[in-house]
Symmetry: C3
Subunit: 209 residues, 3 copies
Amino acid sequence: MDKIVIIGGGGHAKVVISVLRKSGYDIAGYTDRENRGMILGVQYLGDDGILKEILTNNSKCSAIIGIGKIDTSELRIGLQRSVGELGFNFPVIVSPHAVVNEEVSLGDGTVVFDGVVVNSGTEIGRACIINTHSTVEHDCQIGDNVHLAPGVTLSGGVTIGNNCFIGTGANIIQCITICENCSIGAGSTVVSDITIPGIYAGNPVKRIK
Amino acid sequence: MDKIVIIGGGGHAKVVISVLRKSGYDIAGYTDRENRGMILGVQYLGDDGILKEILTNNSKCSAIIGIGKIDTSELRIGLQRSVGELGFNFPVIVSPHAVVNEEVSLGDGTVVFDGVVVNSGTEIGRACIINTHSTVEHDCQIGDNVHLAPGVTLSGGVTIGNNCFIGTGANIIQCITICENCSIGAGSTVVSDITIPGIYAGNPVKRIK
Amino acid sequence: MDKIVIIGGGGHAKVVISVLRKSGYDIAGYTDRENRGMILGVQYLGDDGILKEILTNNSKCSAIIGIGKIDTSELRIGLQRSVGELGFNFPVIVSPHAVVNEEVSLGDGTVVFDGVVVNSGTEIGRACIINTHSTVEHDCQIGDNVHLAPGVTLSGGVTIGNNCFIGTGANIIQCITICENCSIGAGSTVVSDITIPGIYAGNPVKRIK
């Protein structure tokens, strides 16, 4: 299996490292603006300027974004674009402690963490975080750069646009559509379509910004 | 293992198919009013009129309802009765990705989906859906035709009457009793007994219909 | 592996027994004020007065508290202290159906139940219950005698003080601190720090007592 570089060494990187190890990846190290020392035994490589050099020395090397996404997805999107342009590929990573059923498609750079279940007929775009213990039921359509926080439950037939963030433990009922660039608060419940980008929270959710 | 026929070919049937395959069942096909083509590689057999013929040709053939239950359980109950009268048996299906602990009883036709945990001392009736990532703690008493949507959590000692629907991600605290024919909205929290059939939602739930 | 005695034989003891069996423990029996008969095949030993005698006959014998914690943790704390003073040790128990990632520390007497995920960098104190299907994300700091009810989700970097109870399905967002001796209601969502002990519920939580 390819060597893999982790882009960004914060808290989310730890969860990424655990999943990569279980999946048999050989982790080259992590890049970051600052040296955070060893993270779960993974070494610091330098800032992103080092990436070109790494590619020169390793003909096949892939990358993964180690930064979470709470308020904005721009940092993650920008990094995925710039690192991709250098020549790194972003593999799909699925924890061996997750269940991904038949006829599911997962885009490049998407990571499925421990305890997740993804059911049949679901399509998930690129660079998504499907975080710990989330449920994605059958026939969901998830765009690019979507982050499901831990414990999210999407019922069957849910559609979520690009760059959405669905907060910790939020629940979305069957066949709901949420447009691009929405943030759904932790513990919220979505029972009707959302067509205007914004920040939503409550049960049922209301637009709060 | 017996051949099994899936009654109804909607979205829920996909989730049923994945669990049947993992459990080693030989799926004969699905029946439905309309031909929906191949579903995850499972063929259309015809409408329910074909079922008698199937039984004639297969001395041992079982069935499973492939239709979910959102607003009413009458369709599921009627099908289970009529197909049962033809001579089909409805096996208990437990995903190998679920955990069912000691001294749990599960009624005919009940399906336990991926990521579920059912704890000791719990009794679950016939034709129930214990959907993805639900938790049923110790000493619960669940009636017939109950549907726990994905991500539901029942604490210890909960009693749920026949034909109830517990919505996505709903939480019920310990030792609560919910009477027959109740529907609990997604994301709701139940902290006191419910004795009148109806539709309930909120935290804590209120009767809304 | 040591023989283990379960202190208290209520409903929670059943869940404890299932996890102990899967973990290969040889269960000596349970103590309780009253004889509740066989519990999942585990015999009654007598009240806590019998514990000294057990230790005399078994040079290496450990113990686990089989009592849950809803309103107060005093009973659990008192038992753990008095039984510990007799000479019993309280092992860390992790269900084989749970996932505990790298660089996690778990204190004596803490039990991690089925379906739980604990992520890297997290420290959990002594005598905690991390109940069925809970999620504890990276870099959490959990004190002693904390009970996470089933289906709780703690996001990354959450700090929880000693003796807290987090109710069924509650969600806590990233980097929140909750002080000692708090009780968080079922289905609640915590989005800001809690600095005064008390009972909190709602989304977002408010102090109700």
